[in-house]
């Protein structure tokens, strides 16, 4: 062995330990929950059509609560749009729920930040209450059986490779 062998082996071990560590952990800011049935979520979209979360039973659903006045919601929304552009083709469903704002506000906000996602209106804020988010924004991942399995803490970079791969893993596993 040359004099360089030991430093090279040490470096390779450190790199592999780092990679292994990052793969076994959840993406930053995600909490694994003891599965709980998702609350009844029946809302109208911005065009007045009714949506019920049970329609998406059998699919993994990304449920997101937001409001236009909330700074972290504004910062997070473009990442959700980008994530959605990629993941809808892979089978993910989305329920993008606005908390207690009117159609004009929601329409003008989403036109700029997430024009391709169907907006659901929790007009009086009572559905949001049932989910008991820690704050706004709030995101949850629902499994194919309609159970909440993950919750995100605040806004997350959903379009980042780590989060996309994590969602892909759930789509495969569930």
């Amino acid at each position: 062995m040359t004099k360089l062998t030991y430093p090279i082996i040490t470096i390779l071990l450190l790199i592999s330990a780092n990679i292994a560590g990052s793969q076994t952990n959840l993406p930053k800011g995600l909490l694994a929950l003891k599965p709980l049935p998702a609350p009844t979520t029946r809302l109208q979209d911005i065009d007045g059509k009714t949506y019920d979360l049970t329609e998406d039973r059998g699919s993994v659903v990304f449920v997101h609560f937001w409001a236009s006045w909330c700074g972290p919601c504004r910062r997070e929304m473009p990442a959700i749009q980008k994530m959605w552009n990629i993941m809808q083709k892979e089978g993910l469903k989305i329920a993008l729920i606005n908390t207690a704002e009117d159609e004009d506000t929601v329409f003008s906000f989403l036109a700029s930040y997430a024009p391709d996602i169907r907006a659901l209106m929790d007009k009086d804020g009572q559905v949001t209450e049932k989910w008991q988010p820690r704050g706004l924004p709030a995101s949850y991942i629902i499994n194919k059986n309609g159970y909440i399995i993950y919750q995100a803490l605040g806004g997350r970079p959903w379009d980042d490779k780590t989060y996309l791969n994590f969602i892909r893993q759930i789509l495969k596993e569930d």
């Binding site: 207690a100 804020g125 009572q126 820690r134 704050g135």
Partner: protein, 184 residues
């Protein structure tokens, strides 16, 4: 530079990279506190500022008039550490000048809005702009919101309290945020 030296430098970088840099408390900014584990930011709002925010959300005049009678202070808390920080707003104390004052909690405010017949969407928006009453702040979690106090011209002292372990009174972290003004 010899290859051996480059490898040695690389090794040093890899070994020291996980070390966390500890930030000292902010100097010269009385409305902000920062330590290794927590960051708290305090932003007092004038009645005009806070009323303008809610007015832009379409709140009706009687609700705005009531809001203007209170003192709103926006608090932002971030857990910078690696362990849960337990927060209970009920344990915080507030003082205006030398007198203790009582915070107006979300239940009292909800009752006020209900008595006034405020529409549910506005009650809901108002509720989400308040600081949570209780929360187990997870590592890297940040939440913010308003606390509501009776209006006062005196300097306000907020004694905030966080616990590093649930229901353990030995691990209390007390932070005093002083000379906060609720501008009229």
């Amino acid at each position: 530079m010899p290859v051996k030296t480059i490898l040695a430098i690389l090794l040093i970088i890899l070994v020291i990279s996980p070390i966390t840099i500890i930030n000292p408390a902010y100097a010269g900014n009385k409305n902000q506190y920062e330590s290794e584990n927590i960051r708290i930011r305090v932003i007092p709002r004038s009645p005009q500022q806070i009323a303008a925010f809610y007015e832009a959300r379409g709140f009706q005049k009687n609700m705005l008039d009531k809001i203007k009678q209170y003192c709103f202070i926006t608090i932002y808390v971030r857990n910078k550490g690696k362990h849960i920080i337990w927060h209970d707003l009920g344990k915080w104390t507030f003082q205006a000048g030398t007198k203790k004052i009582q915070r107006i909690d979300r239940h009292q405010l909800k009752q006020t809005w209900q008595k006034m017949g405020i529409p549910l969407p506005h009650q809901s928006t108002f509720r989400w702009t308040l600081l949570p009453e209780q929360l187990d702040f997870r590592p890297e979690e940040g939440e913010g919101g308003n606390i509501v106090l009776p209006a006062t011209n005196e300097n306000i002292r907020i004694t905030s309290q966080f616990n590093l372990y649930k229901n353990n009174s030995d691990d209390i972290v007390k932070l005093i945020l002083d000379n906060i003004q609720c501008k009229k």
